[in-house]
Amino acid sequence: MVKKGRFGIYGGQYVPETLMSALLGLEEAYGAIQNDPQFAHDLAAFHSEYAGRPTPLTFCRNASRELGCRLYLKREDLVHGGSHKLNNTLGQALLARQMGKKRLIAETGAGQHGVATAIAGAALGLPVEVYMGETDTQRQALNVFRMQLMGAKVIPVRSGTRTLKDAINEALRDWVANVRDTHYLIGSVVGPHPYPQMVRDFQAVIGRETKKQVMKKEGRLPDTIVACVGGGSNAIGIFYPFLSDDVELVGVEAAGKGIGTGEHSATLCAGDAGVLHGALSYLLQDAYGQVLPTHSIAAGLDYPGVGPEHAMLKDARRVTYDAVRDREVLDAFMFLSRMEGIIPALESAHAVAYVMKNADRFDKDDVVIINLSGRGDKDVAEVAKIQGCA
């Protein structure tokens, strides 16, 4: 790292002045718990007793035969709540409690991060308010109800594009007004320093477990690891412990209806450098720096920004970024459900679609790991609607 809070040229702290003291306080508190055995112990206990960690690394017998490689899934869909998001929310909620914060706020797109924040808040006795774009509250209605069941208040956001980007804007505005007693629990490796680093560290448990598990099962490192990229937290979580290994890493973005149509959220594949939500990274923007509306079949990927560490890894060519379309994602959703009896989240199905599309590239002995970031129950109604079944 060149400068504090930077990944190469990316990252930084581009926030209104009112938030600076909170970021400096968070940075300090996070620094303090990094070498705190008690914190590590508490978090590990939550992982094993509550969240269901470690999650399995599942060998896919049928899909492997079909695709001609040795395919494994890292089963973050089995984490309590149904996605990897809880790894981060438990970590941040524990930290917030330690900092004496009285209230958690969060943004959510697919609703998975909101659900994971509601879970962590309930478990740790902290009230939770979740900002969610109005469009997303409609397409992910089940998750709205889940959050409410666990005592969280869901606030529909009607500004801008009424999706994840605007939910973050609204959460930031809330934080500016309530910065003294509120912790903003960001759901991905985005936002100002120290969030990208802190969220990555909380998610890196995915990669650490994966490494141990694949060594045990295969006696070697994998050839390829594939993960979907929205903000980039599940991807960096599994990539991070492999960054200095000879392992191909692929991040898969949402090409939506096709990058040429402009209706997509493929930030790294089609964007350029810009500042949104506190960090310099890649951004989907027009010639004047206005942020563009995005589209994805997966609400959790429907975001015009991406974590700054991914921007650095792209420029350094350490990670390959590609994008798949909604249509291919639906096929992958069906494929994995039928082949393995595992219904993936539409977000995670992007990674599955990439492997299906690139199956020719893999040898039958190649070990390929997909980070299955979440389960698809939340998407079943939406897919049924698209397929004309409901």
């Binding site: 002045e17 009112t18 505005r173 007004a177």
Partner: protein, 264 residues
């Protein structure tokens, strides 16, 4: 000495800084609004360069940004508005925007174009002093005052750092929160004013939430050098946008009352 400094030389009343979003509701009306503010005695004009994601702004200014963007406003159009004003008045003009609109154009090019248009100062709502090395150096190159925000949560140590970098005036955020009309000037705002005063001789302007003559009197009594009024002006624009004649009258009436209150 720049035009902004001149405003604060030997002043015995609270200066009135009026904010409006450039291009709201459209380029031509925006120019008229600016002239109305000037005619009514505004001392410094703050013009917003609209951004799609204004996280420091409440609903009123968000809607103004949306209107301006929907009307096709770009930084070039805001520069054109300033250029046109320059043939009308020597009032100091400060641009308010978010960093990405500057970054995308290229910092040097943005400041050069701003200087050429006749801009005196630039405030970037999401650029804290820690990230401002490049911007302050370039601002100095083009003789543009870098205006910075100071908040109630800003530590004394950071106030010093900010005051070292800033010129023109310091923009004191009088509330914990985003822009938008509030019912009163909080004690926190007055405390902030007194705290900042210990660290700098720069003129201190209180903004965010200020909207009534009573607010201006409170700021005046507390010793503020200026008040900044944004959302209240934008509210008038929003309500009267279909009748520009009436809009101009309403703006003039409002600002005259605010100016008078600053003379107590």
């Amino acid at each position: 000495m720049g035009r902004i400094d001149d405003v604060f030389l030997q002043r015995d009343s609270t200066a009135f800084i009026g904010f409006t979003v450039g291009g709201d509701p459209d380029q031509e009306t925006s120019g008229r609004i600016a002239r109305a503010l000037i005619d009514a005695g505004t001392d410094i004009l703050e013009l917003g360069v609209p951004f799609s994601d204004p996280v420091a702004d409440g609903p009123t200014i968000q809607r103004a940004d949306e209107r301006a963007l929907a009307a096709g406003t770009t930084p070039d159009i805001v520069f054109a508005i300033v250029r046109e004003l320059r043939s009308y008045s020597g009032i100091p003009v400060v641009l308010l925007t978010y960093y990405n609109t500057i970054f995308k154009r290229g910092v040097d090019r943005f400041y050069r174009d701003a200087r050429d248009a006749g801009v005196d100062g630039i405030l970037i709502a999401d650029l804290p002093v820690e990230e401002s090395d490049e911007v302050t150096a370039i601002a100095a190159r083009y003789g543009i005052d870098p205006i910075f925000l100071v908040a109630q949560t800003t530590s004394d140590e950071r106030i010093k750092k900010i005051a070292d970098r800033a010129s023109g005036y310091l923009y004191l955020v009088s509330v914990l929160g985003v822009t938008g009309v509030r019912s009163q000037v909080s004690k926190g705002a007055i405390d902030l004013l007194n705290r900042v005063r210990k660290h700098t001789c720069l003129p201190l302007a209180l903004g965010f939430g200020i909207s009534t003559p009573d607010h201006v009197r409170a700021c005046n009594h507390a010793g503020a050098d200026a008040v900044i009024v944004g959302s209240a002006i934008v509210n008038i624009v929003e309500k009267t946008k279909h009748d520009p004649e009436f809009m101009v009258q309403e703006l003039k009436k409002y600002i005259s009352a605010m100016k008078t209150a600053g003379h107590t």
